[in-house]
């Protein structure tokens, strides 16, 4: 039994003091995960004299609140699971997708079948070896709705796998429901992780014991869950040489200020993700790396107007979109961020500057739209927060009030109530790592995932999505643009700005840590000691 089986991933606030929140970052074609749960764990200790062969990483949320089944999580947590588990493919720092557990992979001509040849000499914590049977057993769990990582692989989803066949000990053949432009991309990161046979046979055991083939093993004695995770290197691992450190210490520090403090005063070597407020402090004493591609905004969950009739009206949703003064918000609160009304990041192929012009801040238009929707005096909407709402929301609350839209904050008493908000609130709020694969995010989260629990349908979106996923080249770019526009025009997502993901690092100890391509998580195997 696992608590987060049916957990709906979404942006959550730590139930603790911080406003930071951050919690959900979905990437690729994968659903995101609520880095929720356990709540408020602060973390770990820090020894300024920790052995130089241990890398101390500060995280702003618990990467494993529901135990060590990696398939329960999204790529945001790959940073934590990558050392413990190996995946079929990984995204390298240059953005390329590289085989990891896979020695070789081939696709058929129409990109509907992928044949994977597995690497030799891989062993799991339970002692067994990697087999094709095991890969099949892993992928056969894809219909389990609780497994966040498999959000897009399940039946009916954008990257559905219809069949997994074992050809021999080392070879397995995957059949896709639709042609896949880049099938490897569907199997990298957290989604591509292969859990050992003991874990697959008894998933409940993963709650307390990881079963992976990774370069590191969890030192359970030294670990305090939700606070400190201590990993020790397994010298026997096939790729042991790629990792530079003998040990990894993850310290969970949920208070954003405390996280920054920990980095500045040397308790951690790398800290992510940092809040805007802390950037100045960190920059003044340490170094920062950042990665764009995080869209902060309101996913609309009640597109049918079931809990809030106003949201059944497209015009009302668009009124919300155009009532937000992004420029001023960003200028004052998030210098360096980019105001936007579209879900596609600036760097992505589907980005369309015209949309920002067309649907930008226009309170007059917003009022017209409200009238059009039948709400000339505006409407009210509730948004559930655990603890206090973020500064952004408070600021937006006042902006919305200008056009007559009343934003109410409902204080949740537990994370459960926050999770339930996907069904009860008309919109959610948070930073969403759309990053490298916006159409994947849309497929797994916006259209087919927790942002659409009602199963609302929109042919325009559906069609564009299918094209974006299945085609290549210019056709794909074209489809992406269409998809982007369709989402905006239908008011399915109300972005506010595109933000950066900030990691701080101690340049005296480590060289600049690389992100995994356009993803907003780090490639830890590439982190090296400072020269």
């Amino acid at each position: 039994m696992n608590r987060s089986r049916t957990r709906h991933p979404m942006a959550l606030r730590r139930p603790t003091l911080m406003r930071a929140g951050v919690a959900v970052l979905a990437t690729g074609a994968l659903t995101s995960l609520a880095a929720c749960g356990g709540g408020g764990e602060g973390g770990g200790g820090a020894s300024s004299q920790s052995p130089s062969d241990t890398l101390a990483i500060g995280l702003d949320s618990d990467p494993a609140p529901a135990g060590y089944d990696p398939l329960l999580y999204s790529d945001r947590q790959f940073e934590f699971f990558a050392p413990l588990y190996d995946a079929l493919f990984v995204t390298a720092s240059d953005g390329s997708i590289e085989p990891s557990l896979v020695a070789e992979s081939t696709n058929n001509e129409d990109n509907t079948q992928t044949t994977l040849t597995l690497r030799d000499g891989v062993t799991f914590d339970d002692g067994s070896a990697l087999t094709a049977e095991l890969v099949k057993a892993n992928l056969d769990r894809r219909s389990d709705p609780d497994l966040e990582a498999y959000g897009a692989l399940a039946e009916g989803q954008a990257a559905a796998i219809t069949d997994v066949t074992v050809q021999d000990e080392q070879t397995v053949v995957l059949t896709w429901a639709q042609p896949q432009a880049t099938p490897e991309a569907n199997l990298d990161g957290t989604t591509g992780i292969i859990v050992g046979p003991a874990g697959i046979a008894d998933p409940a055991s993963l709650e307390t014991t990881p079963d992976g083939s990774g370069a590191y093993e969890l030192d359970e004695a030294a670990t305090t869950r939700a606070s400190t995770y201590t990993l020790e290197k397994n010298a026997e691992h096939w790729n042991a040489d790629a990792w530079d450190y003998e040990g990894l210490d993850y310290r969970i520090i949920t208070d954003p200020q405390a996280l920054a403090n920990a980095l500045v005063s040397g308790q951690v070597d790398i800290a992510g993700q940092l809040k805007d407020n802390a950037i100045n402090l960190v920059e003044s004493q340490q170094s920062i790396v950042s990665q764009g591609g995080t869209i902060v905004g309101f996913p609309v969950t009640d597109k049918l107007g079931q809990t809030n009739p106003a949201f059944g009206e497209e015009a009302a949703r668009l009124a919300l979109l155009q009532a937000i003064d992004r420029e001023s918000l960003v200028n004052d609160l998030h210098p360096g961020a980019r105001p936007t009304v579209q879900l596609f990041p600036e760097e992505s192929a589907g980005f369309d500057p015209a949309l920002d012009e067309e649907f930008g801040y226009d309170p007059e238009r917003a009022r017209e739209l409200l009238a059009e929707a039948g709400y000339p005096d505006g409407f009210e909407l509730d948004i559930t927060r655990l603890g206090q709402p973020e500064e952004d929301l408070v600021a937006i609350q006042q902006q919305l009030a200008e056009v007559g839209i009343t934003l109410n904050f409902v204080a949740a008493t537990s994370t459960d109530q926050v999770f339930a908000a996907v069904r009860t609130d008309p919109v959610l709020w948070g930073p969403f790592a759309v990053g490298a694969n916006p159409e994947g995010f849309i497929a797994g989260v916006v259209y087919g995932g927790f942002m659409n629990m009602q199963g609302a349908q929109e042919p325009e979106v559906e069609q564009a999505l299918g094209a974006a996923l299945g085609s290549t080249g210019e056709a794909q770019d074209q489809a992406r643009q269409e998809l982007n526009r369709a989402l905006v025009e239908n008011g399915w997502f109300i972005p506010v700005y595109e933000d950066f993901t900030y990691y701080g690092y101690n340049a005296d100890k480590v060289a600049e840590p690389p992100f995994a391509g356009a993803n907003n998580y780090l490639v830890l195997s590439d982190v090296e000691p400072a020269v």
Binding site: P15, A260, K275, L281, D332, P389, A395, A411, T413
Partner: protein, 678 residues
């Protein structure tokens, strides 16, 4: 958010203004507003409460009014305290945030006292059985980690701060109960409670009318302290995010918010933090001021003595120095520093192996005189003139160090209350061997032997058992014997005994007096004994000095003074004594003395006894010297010869009847008229 404990309430003076203090402050300011802390506390609290409750009407900006272009501003003319990260006015937010914590903390206090105080009153009334049960319950409640439980409560019912704070009040009520139980029990021991019960008052009225008002000070102190704690906890909860939802402001969350900007905008932490801290400080200061009742001018425990003006006043004593005396006190003046004199012109001399009694009513300066002999006057009181010569050596004005060389070694002392004169924390053996080792330079084992021997010397048969005991295990008589043994450890030449038998039963008194007499006989010790009991003086003293209002009115040998008293006061004391001689009939009336001893500072010139004296005349209001009497003694009465010639004594004079006209002390200001129930 530490649930601070109630400050140890032990130091709160329960007996606020017991004797001699004006009972009601009248139209003047309440006493606690006469201390700077109290003024500050009350003013600030009043200001914060008023400003917070009226905030909606006066704050310059709305709490949610943002000005993103002017965020994190420092104080300016537009924003007196600056702005927050959304450019909202801090002044407006701080005072708009005040009402909730101020009210919520009040709820905690109300609930905590509602339960704790009520339970304490019930337990105090119902006696040990009820008390045992409720106290156990309270202990359990106290040991629970209240903050963590509070989180659980929030988890269960949500952020309903008033209810949460009420629950906190329930948890804290155990602490209130514990403090209040002690107070209630001590108030219930007051006799006026018993008197009211005998009068037939219902238990509710006894509690409401008699018990509660007397607990008022403690209740006020504790409530004010608890209020401060409550404020900190409300703020702490808000700091954790359990406060009013944004954009509504709360002190705790504003500090939490500010903490994110501590590096870039440290000012943001200041205004809210200071207002919160000041409010809590104000509550505590108010508590302190309330608790200060009864000790308005807190005397400090300084051990520095102001140097006496040795010989500053010309000796009014006609008698020459007595060369044979071990102790020669001349023209001793003792006064409150910068205050009235307590003792004036006291002279006496003590020969070796003799016992001198200082006798008189309370407030006549006997004890002060006795204590001055060892330099052990209370703080703020010192010898202001005259001399005390010990074996020819002046003791007035010498350093504390030199005095302590005399104490215990040359002069020792036993006090009025043997039960509290021994340190309750140490065994008798320790308390005896410690000075023995110091005075006699012997080892531990030998000291213990000497201690046992001393105990035998003071008539304790089972010395070994007593040595192992602690003071609370001894009876009063036994404790006084131990005290005498202790006084003997330094083999002193002079023993000062301040009412050594007053607290003891009469048969025990006789034993102790016999013991003292034996010691004098066996060791040649000199003794100064202070007593109000003329019988004790007759029993043990060779010489006696009768004191009245800070001076000696008559002295001489005990036999002479007691058998043929010359001074009307001495005569009156003897006449008022109900102990008739054996075989004599009991009088139907006792001689009495009208009025009371005038307090220091209100002594008349001339004879201080004049206002109460049956024989007072005009001449008594003039200054006059003492005249020799009783051989080596003297008497301070200008009419002494006249009276003696006329053979008039107090005993033979008519008494004035029961309706004496006593002058009440300290009735300076008119009492407020409190309506007698109509």
């Amino acid at each position: 958010m530490s649930a601070l404990p109630l400050d140890a309430a032990a130091n709160t003076d329960l007996d606020a203004g017991r004797p001699g203090r004006p009972g009601r402050p009248g139209r003047r300011l309440p006493y606690f507003l006469r201390r700077p802390g109290g003024v500050f506390g009350a003013t600030w609290l009043a200001f914060v409460v008023l400003a917070s409750l009226t905030a909606p009407w006066w704050v310059p900006y709305g709490v949610a009014e943002q000005d993103l272009s002017n965020r994190l501003a420092l104080p300016s003319a537009d924003h007196w305290l600056g702005t927050d990260p959304l450019g909202r006015d801090l002044l407006s937010r701080i005072f708009s945030a005040g009402a909730e914590p101020l009210l919520a903390a009040g709820i905690t206090v109300l609930v905590a006292f509602g339960i704790g105080l009520t339970m304490a009153l019930i337990a105090a009334e119902r006696g040990p059985r009820v008390e045992r049960v409720s106290s156990r319950l309270a202990e359990v409640l106290l040991a629970l980690p209240s903050t963590i439980l509070l989180l659980a409560v929030i988890g269960a019912i949500g952020v309903r701060i008033f209810i949460v704070m009420a629950v906190l009040g329930v948890m804290i009520s155990a602490g209130v109960y514990r403090v209040m139980l002690g107070v209630a029990k001590s108030v219930r021991q007051r006799l006026y409670v018993d008197a009211a019960r005998v009068n037939g008052l219902s238990s509710l009225r006894v509690n409401l009318v008699h018990v509660l008002p007397s607990m008022g000070t403690v209740v006020a102190v504790q409530a004010a302290q608890l209020y401060g704690i409550g404020l900190l906890i409300v703020a702490g909860l808000a700091f954790l995010g359990f406060g009013p939802a944004e954009p509504q402001p709360s002190w705790g969350f504003m500090i939490q918010d500010a903490s994110s900007y501590v590096f870039s905008n440290p000012w943001l932490l200041v205004p809210t933090g200071v207002v919160l801290a000041l409010t809590v400080v104000a509550a505590n200061e108010l508590a302190d001021a309330i608790a200060s009742r009864g000790s308005v001018a807190r005397t400090t425990v300084r051990r520095r003595r102001s140097p006496a003006r040795v010989g500053a006043t010309g000796s009014a004593d006609p008698r020459p120095a007595d060369p044979g005396a071990v102790l020669d006190v001349r023209d001793l003046h003792i006064s409150v520093d910068d205050g009235p004199a307590l003792v004036t012109g006291v002279s006496f001399a003590l020969q070796p192996g003799r016992v001198l009694g200082l006798v008189g009513e309370s407030g006549c300066g006997k004890t002060m005189t006795a204590r001055s002999l060892m330099g052990l006057l209370p703080d703020g009181v010192s010898v202001s003139g005259g001399s005390i010569r010990w074996q020819g050596r002046e003791l007035v004005g010498v350093s504390e160090k030199d005095l302590s060389a005399v104490r215990g070694r040359d002069i020792a002392m036993i006090s009025q209350e043997p039960m509290v004169a021994l340190d309750p924390m140490f065994s008798v053996a320790y308390q005896l061997t410690q000075p023995i080792r110091r005075f006699r330079g012997v080892g531990r084992g030998e000291a213990r032997q000497i201690a046992a021997q001393l105990l035998r010397q003071v008539g304790i048969v089972d010395g070994e058992r007593v040595l192992k005991s602690y003071p609370h295990q001894l009876s009063g008589g036994m404790a006084q014997r131990v005290c005498i043994a202790l006084a003997l450890t330094g083999e002193p030449r002079l023993l000062i005994a301040d009412e050594p038998t007053t607290a003891l039963d009469v048969t025990v008194q006789a034993e102790i007096l016999s013991l003292l007499r034996a010691l004098v006989r066996d060791t040649g010790l000199s003794v100064v004994i202070v007593s109000h009991d003329l019988g004790v003086v007759a029993d043990i003293c060779d010489d006696v000095a009768v004191m009245y209002a800070g001076t000696v009115v008559e002295d001489g040998t005990a036999a002479a003074v007691l058998d043929e008293p010359a001074h009307p006061y001495t005569q009156a004391l003897l006449a008022a004594n109900p102990h008739v001689a054996d075989g004599e009939p009991v009088p139907t009336r006792l001689a009495s003395i009208d009025g009371t001893v005038p307090p220091p500072g209100e002594w008349p010139t001339g004879c201080r006894f004049a206002s109460r004296c049956l024989f007072a005349q005009e001449q008594c209001t003039q200054r006059f010297p003492s005249v020799p009497a009783h051989g080596s003694g003297s008497v301070l009465c200008t009419r002494v010869e006249e009276l003696s010639r006329a053979d008039v004594t107090w005993m033979s004079a008519p008494t004035t009847g029961p309706a004496g006209h006593e002058t009440a002390p300290a009735t300076a200001q008119p009492a407020p008229t409190v309506g007698v129930s109509r």
